[in-house]
Symmetry: C2
Subunit: 205 residues, 2 copies
Amino acid sequence: MSVADRKAREKEALKMLILKGAKKLFIEKGIEQTTIRNIADEIDYSVGTVYVYFKDKNAILHDLHSIGFQELGGYFKELFSIEDPMERLRKMGFIYIKFALENQEMYDLMFNLKAPIEFLTNCDNEDWDEGATTFGALKETVHQCIQKEHFKGHTLEPLTFMIWSLVHGMCCLEIRQRTKGVKFTNPDTILYDGYNEFLKIIDRL
Amino acid sequence: MSVADRKAREKEALKMLILKGAKKLFIEKGIEQTTIRNIADEIDYSVGTVYVYFKDKNAILHDLHSIGFQELGGYFKELFSIEDPMERLRKMGFIYIKFALENQEMYDLMFNLKAPIEFLTNCDNEDWDEGATTFGALKETVHQCIQKEHFKGHTLEPLTFMIWSLVHGMCCLEIRQRTKGVKFTNPDTILYDGYNEFLKIIDRL
DNA sequence: TTTTATTTTTGAACAACGTTCATTTTTTTA
DNA sequence: TAAAAAAATGAACGTTGTTCAAAAATAAAA
């Protein structure tokens, strides 16, 4: 019994080692530039071993995308202590942007790359649980704002989606380099400047 | 003299033929799933010929991204006749979303894929003219709104960027399939529903 | 027209990729 | 210590983007 247990633990450990190596290389040189051979080299195993623990590259990317959501959850932790939902909403956006800028490759993987969603589709999995949960957290905060008489005349779900899109859009444009070359007056702070315009608006709602 | 002219015209024609074939396949089966060999087959030329007319795959993607901006310009044409800048701003967003939904692969290429920007970087080109021009058009409309006493207390460039991000974010989430699996009540109309929430807000500003 | 020069097109060949799987090595069990 | 099971291996396969010497087609010169 204990042998099987240890084996299971070792299997899990090696799986994590692969993911850790993959993440390191992804951050170092980009996801597209990282090959399975690179990952195998990084952790001193052969290519074949990687394929014993992961069906394909999409499976690695999906698991790493899930880890990304855990890390985003870590960033969000400090929000729990904020009572006022409007205050929490404001801060949530800032943290979201901060996470995206500090973890660009992971953010790309979580919200932009096709691989994690393709993996789910291949597994006949209709739902994107990580996304649904995170969106649910934002929706709950917006819901509380509405209960406190904010956002009069608005509909919860579309409003929440609009807010998500607003911050996501900024992060996306930045990470995919669409803010470079557009000749902003203040390119370095445009994300936070843009978000502040949003804050100015909702302060009045 | 006329021979050289004809040759130049033929060169241009073949270049366009390659782009046309590439675009067809991109729309049919996706950009990532389309190979140079596919493109060559499509237009009954060999692989080598494609490389005579384009430095690499990024060059094709960049030229096609420029064509995409021309097409977006076509969608935007009807905006010129709208006098009221607020009305024009509202409609601009709708058309932007419409373009994105009706030309998903092209939109992805224009605003998401790294290839066109990588191409510019490789050519030591700092500027992304197509993006800057389109952003400029939006900025001009927002500027006229401000002149008509709308958006009091807001700063032009960050506000414009925020609006762009809002619609881009929605299109991006949709195209990259992040709206599927999140269990929206009305997944089919969420983009327009979300944008309508934005319209409700700016109607009061 | 025939020959030479130039331009255009070709597709085999290369390195690198994701992926597979028969074989080898290691570990567990008898 | 020997047999069985599990884990790890890396050569090999099909595809990819890309290159480039050779071939084919066209233009210029004779």
